[in-house]
């Protein structure tokens, strides 16, 4: 049995499939990164070639760092993304706990209502959101983006976390109640550590669309002080001339922070401390 399962031919095919998929997935990223280190002529003449002594150039990075305030844009993106993730996880987990733990009238309906957002894209409400932001004076603030992204991320977070929290043993929560833990302590100290892998999943799913979003920064916070990286890179894309070196350099730089965040969360995905908790 054990032998059949580890047959080299079989695992070879599996690895081959995975390697091909990885190559396909990473190829655009690879292209972006190598071309960001080439001069403009080489990008067009030999887009697939690696940068060599002749074609190597940091002109893209120079123009990115000179033109526009990219450090600020990065900072804005980081603030918006991390604060939104924080709120999505906090409120999502709290709502999920209430839905999974307590019996009350309208529980199922509330859950359905919260999950509706998965099916209806938030962009449909852009006009109303903009009107609201104008009325509250939040246009051109990071707060506006954080509010919108929190709302955008919550439905999926509530949906995933509710299912996960149902799997946390009732006995464990009851043991906590008998030991005198408040409902808040049970939530923060018993349940949250047990659903950490699910939280990491939600964090990753929430993070990527926020980091890459162009729509809401363009509409709600296009001022220079509140531009995000994605919006900031657009200055290099013109109607007639596009500064490819700068665009590619900006994109390459934009990969880094999100990569770091991803590694932080993915470590949580792997780590499992629940084994042996119950049963």
């Amino acid at each position: 049995m054990a032998k059949a399962r580890t047959s080299p031919l079989r695992s070879g095919f599996v690895h081959l499939a995975l390697i091909i998929y990885t190559l396909i997935a990473l190829f655009p990223v690879f292209l972006t990164v190598i071309n960001s280190f080439k001069d403009r002529a080489s990008i067009f003449r030999n887009p697939l070639g690696l940068p060599d002594a002749k074609s190597f150039s940091l002109v893209g990075y120079e123009s990115v760092l000179k033109q526009g305030d990219f450090t600020l844009y990065f900072q804005n993106s980081l603030i918006v993304t991390s604060v939104s993730i924080f709120f999505v996880l906090l409120f999502g987990a709290m709502a999920a706990f209430a839905l999974s733990e307590y019996r009350f009238r309208g529980n199922a309906l509330t859950g359905l209502y919260l999950a509706l957002g998965i099916m209806i894209p938030i962009r449909l409400g852009t006009v109303a959101i903009l009107q609201g932001m104008v009325a509250t004076g939040l246009v051109n603030t990071l707060t506006a983006l954080i509010l919108v992204y929190t709302a955008q991320g919550l439905p999926l977070a509530v949906f995933i976390l509710t299912e996960f929290m149902r799997t946390v043993s009732d006995d464990l929560k009851n043991a906590g109640r008998i030991d005198g833990l408040s409902e808040y302590s049970i939530f923060f100290r018993l349940v949250l550590p047990l659903v950490r892998p699910a939280m990491a999943t939600v964090a990753v799913f929430t993070m990527i669309p926020i980091w890459n979003d162009l729509w809401f920064p363009l509409i709600l916070a296009p001022s220079d002080a509140t531009k995000t990286v994605t919006l900031g890179s657009q200055v290099f894309i013109g109607q007639f001339v596009t500064n490819w070196n700068a665009v590619l350099a900006a994109l390459t730089l934009a990969i880094l922070p999100v990569l770091v965040l991803y590694f932080l969360f993915s470590r949580q995905l792997i780590r499992g401390i629940t084994s042996g908790a119950v049963k």
């Binding site: 109640r177 030991d179 401390i273 908790a277 119950v278 049963k279």
Partner: protein
């Protein structure tokens, strides 16, 4: 300290009535066991006593004080769960100490109480381990330890042995019996295993469909069941329950005879039947007979040789038959 009184407890989930008026009194230091088939409400009753569920109506008094509105942590109880329910991210020591820490007890006292409990349960070597590094039996001992350190007035056990394998179950059962003698605490224990109930209890409460069928010592339940349900539930193999009419008994709807209260003979007896199956258990031999009035189980002590299809005659022991009326209540002789 440690008495419990329950007055007319009802509990409904929506339209489903799980507990339909339970009255019960538990004296200080008693070991009381709730038994019954699954869905009879025994676990719900335990949760209501613990305060994990609110009763729909009725009163719960612990030590003479009404505790209906007291949160679980303040009721002076401790509970051991079927799934152990240990905190996975805490060491054994912290698992046991959490309740006391929450109650604001001084560190020295917590340390002392953990030491006493871990000594009692031989957990000294495992205090710094996480639950995931323990075996099932050890985990359940930690869960029991967590209950002991609270020095509760009332211990509640919710099927604590169901997840353990057979050998460990016997050991842990003995351990719980020893603890009860040592601590002299009041214990309430829920199980569906009648062996646990018979071996541990001072008093057994048999529940069926949200009502108490009978309360009594194990031998009372065995020797004088008040209802058909108790007669059928207590005792293994199950009591033979035969329609009275088929035995020519006009006044009883059902007649019950325990398998161990029947003698067999090759030549003569009250009832004639053919052997359909024989189980050899060493200490017992269980014979299944097919008679004119239906199947009959007979339990003989020791080893006996009988063949399938062999014809046997069975005779019930005098004074050991139970007769039940059409409301399934016992007819007193």
């Amino acid at each position: 300290m440690g008495s419990l009184k329950i007055e007319n407890i009802r509990k409904s989930f929506g339209h489903v009535d799980v507990l339909k008026g339970i009255d019960l009194e538990v004296k200080d230091g008693e070991f009381v066991i709730f038994v019954g088939p699954s869905g009879c409400g025994k676990s719900t009753l335990l949760r209501v006593i613990a305060g994990l569920e609110d009763a729909t109506s009725g009163e719960i008094l612990i030590d003479g004080k009404k505790v209906n509105n007291t949160p679980p942590a303040k009721r002076g109880i401790a509970m051991v769960f079927q799934t152990y329910a240990l905190y996975p991210h805490l060491s054994v020591r912290d698992n046991m100490g959490l309740g006391l820490k929450q109650a604001g007890k001084p560190t020295e006292e917590i340390k002392e109480r953990i030491k006493v409990a871990s000594g009692m349960l031989s957990l000294d070597d495992y205090l710094e381990r996480r639950p995931s590094e323990l075996s099932g039996g050890q985990r359940q001992r930690v869960a029991i330890g967590r209950a002991i350190v609270r020095e509760p007035q009332l211990f509640l056990f919710d099927e604590p042995l169901s997840n353990l394998d057979a050998a460990l179950r016997v050991n842990t059962r003995l351990e719980i019996a020893r603890l009860h003698r040592q601590l002299k605490a009041t214990m309430i224990y829920v199980t569906h295993d009648q062996v646990e109930a018979m071996t541990l209890a001072d008093k057994i409460v048999v529940l069926n469909k949200g009502r108490i069928e009978q309360v009594g010592s194990p031998m009372e339940l065995y020797n004088s069941p008040q209802t058909l349900f108790v007669a059928g539930f207590i005792g293994s193999p199950q009591m033979n329950l035969i329609e009275g009419a088929k035995l020519g008994d006009a006044t009883a709807k059902t007649v019950g005879i325990r398998p161990e209260h029947i003698q067999v003979s090759n030549t003569s007896g009250t009832w004639k039947g053919g052997v359909i199956h024989v189980e050899h258990l060493g200490a017992d031999t269980i014979i299944y007979l097919q008679t004119d009035f239906g199947p009959l189980t007979v339990r003989l002590f020791g080893e006996h040789q009988y063949e399938v299809d062999q014809v046997l005659y069975a005779t019930p022991d005098a004074g050991r038959t139970y007769r039940f009326d059409d409301k399934d209540m016992i007819i007193k002789a």
